[in-house]
């Protein structure tokens, strides 16, 4: 039963292993939430322009000199990438018996993703698609999408997957209520491992928040772990997730206690997938 309102999931794909991980997660969530899966491969215009340049060279592992890039060559590579990704998506959809499609767009990646995400309920994206797969750094595309996209966003570290326990930051806002519902949905099924993290607020407010959480989780029979932050910083939030060994963190994009820069820092430093609810 999907109470989260997430019916359409968009997953951004490129040839990197990180995005294949994103496809695995997207398939899992689509299956769990009974949602449609839309896979999108953006042919980067920057790469096509690069290929037109007479001196363009591609530097690779194991090659001292690199190799010359041409437009035709780049077109062929992108077409090949698209074919492989289409096959992957189709195989995943068939295996998990979900409804899925695969689209190819050409343009600037973050721009096209943000546009496509407007029609979607959740955009799934690798944290770092541009450079190093295992980088802690938030890639340019991810940064741009995080700043510009209107949809809910799931940012994945390389090799990560959606597992329990699930942690959720709850401050009582509408977005955080949706975040809690989503987290509840993700936690459901395996001892309902859910951790609710409260921002650093006064006791009265905390009790109110706890009551709200109780009202939301009790009918579902979920006995969530609860922790209150000592300070409203990304470090404190990360420590809380580590303490409870959380494997997924659900937060709202804009709260009274955490501004977008906090969230960006949080995503950058987190080793676990972060779902940003808008």
């Amino acid at each position: 039963m999907n109470n989260t309102g997430i019916k359409r999931i968009l997953v951004a794909l490129d040839a990197s292993e990180a995005n294949r991980g994103a496809l695995r997660v997207a398939t899992l969530l689509a299956n769990q939430l009974h949602a449609e899966l839309h896979a999108l491969f953006v042919e980067d215009t920057n790469l096509l322009r690069l290929a037109e340049l007479p001196f363009a060279r591609e530097m690779m592992y194991g090659s001292r000199e690199g190799r010359r890039i041409t437009s035709a060559n780049m077109e062929r590579q992108m077409a090949a990438q698209a074919t492989r990704l289409r096959q992957l998506v189709e195989a995943a959809a068939q295996q998990n018996q979900i409804k899925a499609d695969f689209r190819i767009l050409r343009g600037q990646i973050s721009h096209e993703l943000c546009l496509a995400a407007q029609q979607m309920d959740l955009l799934i994206l690798g944290k770092s698609t541009q450079l190093l797969q295992q980088s802690l750094k938030l890639g340019k595309v991810a940064q741009d999408v995080l700043a510009a996209a209107n949809s809910n966003l799931l940012l994945l570290q390389y090799g990560a997957s959606i597992e329990r326990p699930v942690a959720v930051l709850f401050d009582g806002s509408d977005a955080s209520q949706r975040a809690l519902e989503f987290a509840t949905q993700l936690a459901h099924g395996d001892h309902d491992q859910l951790t609710v993290i409260y921002p650093a607020v006064d006791t009265k407010r905390l009790q109110e928040l706890q009551q709200q959480v109780e009202n939301l989780t009790h009918p579902l029979g979920i006995d969530a772990s609860q922790i209150s932050l000592s300070s409203n910083t990304s470090d404190a939030l990360l420590q809380a997730t580590t303490h409870y060994n959380s494997r997924v963190l659900v937060v709202e994009a804009m709260t009274n206690d955490f501004n977008p820069e906090h969230i960006k820092t949080l995503i950058q430093q987190s080793h676990i997938p972060v779902i940003v609810m808008r």
Binding site: T45, R49, L50, Q130
Partner: protein
């Protein structure tokens, strides 16, 4: 000499008055081994001497109780000796094909195996715990972060340097590239071409420079990753040392004096470090095509294969092996089939008898050993090299080329006791040079002992001991005496006792059975006699058949009357354990000739060498006695009538001589008599074997045809001491219905057989030979005359 032997000379009774007991229950158990002083001294010497090659061969006929004697002696010796060492095989981590042998004190090997099992169990618990600790994860994370930072820093520096020139580092489908940017977008070709040539040149130069740096960074990445891996490996070692080191140290302290175990445990620790994954992730049984290939293969290499343990007994080991095949002796490396392939490892090494008896004694039947292919060679090799090296025959003879194990050889300190008969001992001694080097002590078991009062008393004690061990009824004095008398008969000598304990034990059991049938609480003499009679009856089918042939006249044997050139000889037949004799008609013919005596049996190859020798001897005697200074002008032939089998032995040579003398003297021989004995070149009688059976054989035929009082048997005087005749024969002699005569010379024999004096016979023989010589001379002259006329 014409007087028959007295009944008391025919059977030496055991005097029961010498016994102070009523039944054997009153006799103490016999502790010592009867009549084997020489063998026991040899055993004592062979076991006591601690030099190479002083292994033992216990020789003697079967049934003497050699196994029992050796077993009891060795067990007693072993009980006072130091316990043998335990041996086990462990994995050789450097060379898995060459497992390591470890020696431990007696009984320690199972404990060592248990300790290793416990160690692995503890490691499987301690190591994952150590790697799950937050501190470990934090340190791994630190190393990974360091790597990421190093890589990111390199890329970031490169990206920042590029950005400073309005150039971006961009990911391509297969790598990275640099491109000039304007407003965050890569400059198109057209825009680039619009740039001044100088700027274009500059951009290209900067990008070329950046590409070189990027290539350097990319080249360094594997190096950074390798360094990070090494750091993680070092960390892992540190963690394993922390988690496992104290466990290994505890075990090392426990087995402190054992340097091989110390080294092995160090190797185990290193192997654990090298194979951490096995401990970090619980290993599932390997499976190929749905078939399990054995469980936890990776932990199997830490097991201890206890080859030999003496935990369950004290003292040195004493091992008796009934099936001394090559692998049962020197051990074997077994294999298991996996997916149609035979595989093995050190856990499949199996101990042989040499391993089990190492430090003690190994007893083997030589005949069984020699019957097994290569077993004798394997034993000799082990004793010569003083070590046990497990090698399959296929390996030794290069019958297979696949790699197998070569377990480390184990030092051998052992006394091997071979048990066998005398013939094999002498054959091995003659034909196998290594035998005399390796088995220097012969313990020769005597099959007879003197029959005197003292030994008869000890024999009674032996009987009592055997009865108790076999839980049989007690024997009264008469029964004991009858057993002793039978023992003398077994020894074929009235003055000896047999040491064939097995035969005696069988008689005791059977006598007990017959006593039970007649409800005797104590076994009496008649029960023993019944057992003996039953033994004979069970086995005498062939004898009965032969006797029937004689009494029906199919086999022609006369027991009355007198005939020229015909005498009753006596032949013994041995069928299994049963020996009996039948009379055999021996005939002789003589005619003019050139001095040859033809042994028809030899001519048709039915006579053995000894038999032929007997005939040659009597021929020599004939020539020497009657034709010392003139040619022997006769041609004689001798044969066993109606004999279609092989004849061996010279016990009929006296009979053959008498037949020949009879035909020469033309004096008939009494057919109511039979004769046995061999003759030498001087005409003297020599003792023969089986005298009792021979007498009984002729007696039986005479008895069937009814005893006349004239019938009897002539035996060499030197055989008199061997007489232990059947009671019915003795009884017949007592009643003068049968007689046993002894003789010392052919003159005595021929006189008895013919009823004439030897002088008379000799004169007739001499006359006959002179007559033949005369005829021969006449023939020679006539032949010469005919020849001259023809010329």
């Amino acid at each position: 000499m014409t007087t028959p032997l007295k009944p008391e000379q025919l059977y030496t009774y055991c005097d029961t008055t010498q016994f102070e007991f009523e039944t054997t229950d009153q006799l103490a158990e016999l502790k010592e081994i009867i009549g084997q002083d020489r063998a026991l001294q040899a055993l004592h010497f062979g076991i006591g001497i601690q030099q190479q090659g002083y292994n033992l061969y216990v020789l003697g006929p079967s049934g003497l109780g050699k196994h029992t004697v050796v077993r009891e002696y060795l067990k007693e010796q072993a009980a006072h000796s130091a316990a043998g060492a335990d041996w086990c095989y462990v994995n050789n981590f450097a060379k898995p094909q060459e497992p390591i042998a470890i020696r431990l004190e007696s009984g320690q090997a199972p404990q060592f195996r248990q300790d290793m099992l416990q160690l692995v169990e503890d490691l499987r618990s301690a190591i994952p715990s150590a790697f799950e600790a937050e501190e470990y994860n934090a340190r791994v994370q630190e190393i990974e972060n360091e790597l990421k930072e190093t890589m990111e820093t390199s890329f970031n520096q490169l990206a920042e340097e590029a950005e400073s020139h309005n150039i971006t580092l961009i990911r391509t489908p297969h790598g990275f590239a640099f491109a000039p940017v304007r407003d965050k977008e890569v400059v198109s070709q057209k825009e680039f071409e619009k740039l001044p040539k100088q700027d274009q040149q500059h951009i290209q130069e900067v990008i070329a420079s950046l590409e070189d740096k990027l290539a350097a960074v990319l080249r360094q990445q594997p190096q950074w990753q390798r360094e990070a891996r090494n750091k993680v490996k070092s960390l892992n070692q540190e963690v394993v040392m922390f988690a496992a080191g104290h466990l290994i140290d505890e075990l090392k302290n426990k087995y402190l004096p054992n340097k091989i175990i110390q080294k092995y445990l160090d190797d185990v620790l290193q192997d654990v470090i090298n194979n951490l994954d096995d401990f970090q992730h619980e290993e599932e049984p390997r499976e190929v095509m749905g078939m399990k290939l054995g469980e936890k293969a990776s932990f199997r290499r830490y097991t201890v294969n206890v080859l030999v343990s003496h935990a369950d007994h004290d003292g040195a080991p004493v091992v008796f092996t009934d099936m001394p095949t090559y692998p049962n002796l020197v051990g074997a490396v077994e294999h298991t089939a996996q997916m149609g392939t035979l595989v093995t490892d050190f856990t499949l090494i199996k101990a042989g008898a040499l391993h089990k008896a190492n430090g003690g004694y190994l007893v083997i039947d030589i005949i069984k050993l020699l019957q097994q292919p290569y077993a004798w060679e394997g034993l000799k090799r082990a004793l010569s090299s003083r070590e046990i090296k497990i090698q399959s025959l296929a390996q030794i003879y290069s019958l297979i080329s696949t790699v197998s194990l070569e377990p480390e050889a184990i030092p051998l300190d052992i006394k091997v006791v071979l048990i066998g008969d005398r013939m094999l001992y002498y054959l091995l001694h003659e034909y196998d040079p290594e035998f005399k080097q390796l088995f220097k002590v012969a313990a020769d078991f005597d099959d007879r002992l003197p029959r005197n009062d003292e030994n008869q008393t000890i024999y009674a004690q032996l009987i009592a001991t055997l009865l108790r061990r076999n839980k049989l009824r007690p024997f009264d004095r008469g029964a004991v005496a009858r057993v002793i008398e039978h023992s003398a008969r077994l020894a074929d000598d009235a003055e000896k006792l047999s040491t064939e304990i097995l035969n005696v034990a069988d008689l005791l059991r059977e006598a007990d059975h017959w006593a039970a049938q007649t409800k005797h609480p104590v076994v009496h003499r008649e029960d023993v006699q019944k057992a003996l009679d039953a033994q004979v009856h069970r086995q005498d089918r062939i004898r009965e058949h032969l006797y029937e042939q004689i009494t029906r006249g199919t086999l022609m044997i006369d027991t009355g009357g007198a005939k020229v050139g015909q005498v009753n000889g006596l032949a013994v037949l041995q069928l299994g354990d049963f020996a009996f004799a039948t009379p055999s008609r021996i005939t002789a013919t003589a005619r003019l000739g050139e001095g040859e005596v033809i042994d028809i049996e030899r001519e048709v190859e039915l006579g053995g060498a000894t038999h032929s020798k007997g005939v040659f001897i009597l021929s020599a005697y004939l020539g020497q006695r009657y034709a010392g200074n003139r040619p022997l002008s006769l041609s004689a032939s001798l044969t066993f009538e109606q004999s279609y089998g092989y004849i061996e032995g010279d016990s009929a040579s006296m009979a053959e001589l008498c037949a020949l003398l009879s035909v020469l003297a033309e004096v008939p021989i009494k057919q109511n008599l039979a004769i046995t004995g061999s003759v030498n070149q001087r005409g003297e009688a020599q003792a023969i074997g089986g005298v009792n059976e021979k007498i009984e054989g002729f007696f039986d035929i005479c008895q069937v045809r009814s005893l006349t009082g004239q019938q009897g048997v002539l035996i060499p005087a030197s055989n008199m001491k061997h007489l232990m005749l059947r009671h019915d024969v003795v009884a017949a002699c007592e009643q003068n219905q049968f007689a046993i005569y002894v003789y010392e010379h052919v003159d005595d024999a021929i006189a008895l057989l013919t009823g004439e004096t030897a002088e008379a016979i000799n004169e007739k023989v001499a006359n006959r030979l002179a007559e033949l010589e005369k005829y021969r001379e006449e023939f020679s002259k006539a032949a010469r005359g005919t020849g001259e006329e023809n010329e």
